[in-house]
């Protein structure tokens, strides 16, 4: 069962699936951005797929990531970890985790996103549960979702500048809304 979904995706979409992997029992398909909606619609509507439970969607900021190199002699060495160079990797990646309650299978979709073109089609039409999750990603990472019905910040306030979960946001930089005058002491 493990690779069934991935094989079906590759057979149907070919080039749109950049790569697939199923390390540690996690089926991952890396999908090109312009085919994301098509792939998602297929995953939801095809009776053999029937992904009816959107677990979550989030984003990854790969800024400053160093690929861990483990000596082959070490007991920690995991041969299936791909040793990819850091530089040619796009900075961001959207991650969608889907599950099918019908067939009891799950899949993770990754969409690499370039820093200068941080736009991705919204999937909230297909799975309404993604509505608020995409707002969260927009709030924390600044990814713009095309076609989202209500793209506003969800955690931070309107006055907040920047996106706090990006790796280049200084984590202790506060942007206070209100402070009192210390005259009583």
């Amino acid at each position: 069962m493990a690779r069934r979904v991935l094989d079906a995706l590759t057979a149907r979409f070919g080039d749109a699936i950049q790569s697939t992997s199923s390390d540690y029992g996690d089926e991952v398909a890396v999908v090109r951005r312009d085919k994301l909606v098509e792939v998602a619609r297929f995953l939801r509507d095809d009776p053999a797929m029937a992904f009816n439970l959107p677990c979550y969607c989030t984003c990854i900021d790969y800024l400053g990531l160093e690929v861990l190199t483990v000596r082959p002699t070490s007991p920690l060495a995991v041969p299936s970890v791909p040793a990819r160079p850091v530089d040619d990797r796009p900075r961001f990646a959207m991650v969608y985790e889907l599950r099918s309650l019908v067939h009891k299978h799950r899949i993770r979709i990754k969409v690499p996103l370039d820093e200068n073109d941080l736009v991705v089609p919204s999937l909230s039409e297909l799975w309404p549960a993604f509505n608020w999750l995409e707002r969260e990603v927009y709030d924390m990472y600044g990814v713009a979702f095309e076609g989202h019905p209500d793209l506003r910040r969800i955690y931070m306030y309107e006055e907040f500048i920047g996106h706090p979960l990006r790796k280049d946001y200084p984590k202790e930089r506060r942007q206070p809304l209100v402070r009192r005058e210390w005259t009583d002491e």
Partner: protein
Amino acid sequence: MGLEITTTRLEDAANWGRKFSLFTYPFVTACCGMEFMSVAAPKYDIARFGAEFPRFSPRQSDLLMVVGTITERQGPVLKRVYDQMAEPKWVIAFGVCASTGGFYQNYSAMPGADQVIPVDVYIPGCPPRPEQVLDALMLLMKKVQEGRGHSQVRHKREQLVREGG
């Protein structure tokens, strides 16, 4: 001379009344709320100190208990709640998060409720034991009796300014 003594005595009597009838407004935002419930429940029984009646309207209370983490986004809300309370009023920061931000030293958490409102008594602990809360309450009662609360001091100063010109 005689009038001065009378007003001082009157203030003492009023403060005595105030310290035994603190009406708390629990501004509960996080896990410290469990500890607050424990204090309010019969085992530790905050009612023994006359503070048994949580009012869920700031307009009817005179002790604001900031129980839990305050985020930057909540700052204006907390300030409004404090401003709505009638004078004289007191504030207890319940737990490290309300006192200093605790371990939330990040973009979203406010480093202590005293960034927005004046705090009279700080209770450390994550969360504080009920005994600590009762200790803080007794400290606050002492402060109320002696007229050293923030709002009392401010009131006194404003009075002096009005009278002295």
